[in-house]
């Protein structure tokens, strides 16, 4: 590959172009957040967060959708965490690298790549129709469980692997059993890393639309049990925007969504930083 510019000159040109592209990328992403906040923040108020929607969301608040989001997310995280962390413990502490770990890891990676609409289809056919749970928080929560499982497995695995070998050796040499070592020494040390994965998963649950709309439905009432259909904030935002019900309400909902996800990501980031600093 010969270049048509002298190397020094080329270097300068490339550097300028790349600087420009980098600034453009950062600005594009920052612009999206700024745009939503600019239009959404004026709509936000205590009433907006705590009142019921009026006329399909044309006016009023978004309270039921906040409850719906929290319920679905909680359910998914409560089920996915033990399974995900258990799998990670198995992969790191209870087996040696081999075909078995490769299969499990490959399965988890494939699962991570499956688009959310496929999870939605699957949840719809299995939970909503075959198991007759209907459009409900339960169906939606279980579907989200499957969706976030790979994230929890991967981050927990990395976190457990990061705990220095010496921790385990000391515990074992003091007469601790394998399980005591894992449960009382390794897991507490890996906790911030595991928490990172869980919080990331919370973010994914909050932002998810396609998998939720076909499993939890889109009822705007306040959910009363695990079997009530419920609408999450993302679904509400999607419906408001797509059906043109109310732009200002859509902006407001989007602002709540973005703020909560940014907060979650900031917490994740600081947790992860603390964890990495502790062990390196």
């Amino acid at each position: 590959m010969r270049s048509w510019l002298a190397p020094r000159k080329e270097e300068k040109v490339v550097r300028t172009i790349f600087l420009f592209i980098t600034i453009l990328s950062v600005c594009l992403l920052a612009f999206i957040v700024a745009f939503i906040l600019k239009h959404g923040l004026p709509v936000l108020s205590w009433d907006f967060l705590t009142r019921n929607p009026v006329e399909m969301g044309k006016e009023g608040g978004i309270f039921p959708t906040i409850i719906g989001t929290v319920a679905l997310t909680l359910l998914a995280i409560i089920i996915a965490t033990p399974i995900g962390v258990g799998t990670a413990i198995f992969l790191t502490e209870y087996t040696t690298e081999g075909r078995l770990t490769r299969i499990i890891r490959f399965g988890s990676e494939c699962l991570a790549g499956i688009p959310s609409i496929i999870f939605g289809l699957f949840g719809f056919i299995l939970f909503v129709t075959k198991m007759k749970m209907g459009w409900s928080i339960l169906s939606g929560g279980l579907t989200l469980t499957f969706m976030v499982l790979p994230t929890i497995i991967r981050t927990s695995e990395e976190a457990i692997r990061f705990v220095p070998k010496a921790y385990r050796e000391v515990s074992l040499s003091l007469g601790g059993t394998k399980w005591q070592t894992v449960f009382r020494v390794v897991l507490p040390a890996a906790l911030p890393g595991i928490a990172t994965g869980i919080i990331l998963s919370i973010g994914r649950c909050i932002g998810e639309t396609a998998a939720v709309i076909f499993t939890a439905g889109s009822a705007l009432r306040l959910p009363t049990s695990l079997f009530s259909s419920s609408r999450t904030m993302s679904v509400h935002f999607y419906i408001l925007a797509r059906e043109g019900i109310s732009m200002s309400q859509a902006y407001g909902t989007a602002a709540v969504l973005i703020i909560s996800i940014l907060l979650i990501n900031v917490v994740t980031y600081s947790l992860m930083n603390r964890f990495l600093r502790k062990y390196s």
């Binding site: 590959m1 190397p7 020094r8 080329e10 270097e11 550097r15 172009i17 790349f18 600087l19 592209i21 980098t22 990328s25 950062v26 992403l29 999206i32 957040v33 939503i36 399974i83 995900g84 258990g86 799998t87 198995f90 209870y94 087996t95 299969i103 499990i104 399965g107 988890s108 990676e109 494939c110 790549g113 499956i114 688009p115 959310s116 609409i117 496929i118 939605g120 289809l121 699957f122 719809f124 056919i125 299995l126 499982l149 973010g203 909050i206 932002g207 639309t209 396609a210 993302s234 935002f237 999607y238 925007a241 797509r242 859509a250 989007a254 969504l257 973005i258 979650i264 990501n265 980031y269």
Partner: protein
């Protein structure tokens, strides 16, 4: 001591069961999607699905070709937007600037990676679509709009994984090349990029997977017409939007045809996943 050993074995066994139940989810999903989608594909012939342009699912015509082409166009477009931006950004942030800038900008971009895709779709509707309609013509809801928005959406993925794989290279590669008199750009082009190739490729394929699989954002901006687009300003429907748009009211064979759409999507994603998996394994060995 012996009793304890038995207990340890029990713990190992139960963890094994947990691990397998976790990945059996993949099997379950495959099973359910295929058992709903495959029968109708064989009943009406694969040709009716793959090489047919007419989607009239209630009349026995299940042409998914426009959607397959739609997904393809939107994804390629998204890659054309996202890959150059992401790669150039990754190269700039790892090679041409100080660590100070990188430790500020990289987290910032990763924070933004969590913005829900519906928000990207919404931005497309309120800003990009009117711009395209006014300045380039057509309905605005188009291949172009979807490609640009998805390209921006996958930007953080490509950027952050590419940065990681460029940073993972031994510093001696760069030092050696600079010491031999190469400029930084020559070093990047001839030494670092080839060395980090598999990581960069994996990041691109991951981004591609996200673009192929994205649903709600695409529905909002691609226009969803079931005909073949003649230009990038024409509306288009992707495989994912085909499912999501009609799932709400479909029944009988129509619904099965949507699952057949899911089967095709599933196969495309699995192929992409496997390629990504193989390249990243090559990187780690």
């Amino acid at each position: 001591m012996r009793k304890l050993k038995g207990k340890e074995r029990l713990i190992r066994l139960s963890l094994l069961v947990v691990a397998f139940s976790a990945i059996s989810v993949l099997g379950l999903i495959t099973l359910f999607i295929f058992s709903e989608g495959l029968p109708i594909m064989f009943r009406h012939g694969l040709k009716n699905f793959l090489f047919n342009l007419d989607w009239y699912p209630t009349e026995g015509s299940f042409g998914l070709l426009p959607m397959i082409i739609g997904s393809l166009l939107v994804t390629i477009g998204a890659m054309l937007v996202g890959v150059p931006l992401g790669l150039a950004g990754a190269i700039y942030l790892t090679q041409f600037t100080s660590k100070k800038v990188r430790v500020v900008v990289k987290p910032l971009i990763e924070l933004l990676a969590g913005i829900p895709s519906v928000v990207y779709g919404f931005i497309g509707v309120v800003i990009l679509v009117p711009l395209i309609r006014t300045y380039l013509g057509g309905p605005g809801l188009s291949v172009l709009a979807a490609a640009v928005i998805l390209g921006i959406m996958i930007l953080p993925t490509i950027l952050s994984i590419s940065i990681d794989s460029l940073m993972a290279l031994p510093p001696s590669y760069r030092e050696g090349s600079i010491a031999l008199g190469a400029t930084q750009w020559q070093t990047v082009r001839l030494v670092l990029l080839p060395a980090a190739r598999s990581g960069v490729v994996a990041s691109i394929i991951l981004g591609m997977g996200r673009a192929v699989g994205e649903t709600m954002a695409v529905i909002m901006i691609a226009g969803n017409a079931t005909s073949l687009p003649r230009s990038i300003l024409d509306p288009v429907r992707t495989l994912t939007s085909n499912i999501a748009l009609e799932m709400g009211y479909a029944s009988g064979e129509h619904r099965q045809a949507l699952f057949a759409t899911g089967v095709i999507l599933f196969i495309i994603i699995m192929v992409l996943n496997t390629i990504a998996n193989l390249t990243s394994r090559k990187m780690s060995s």
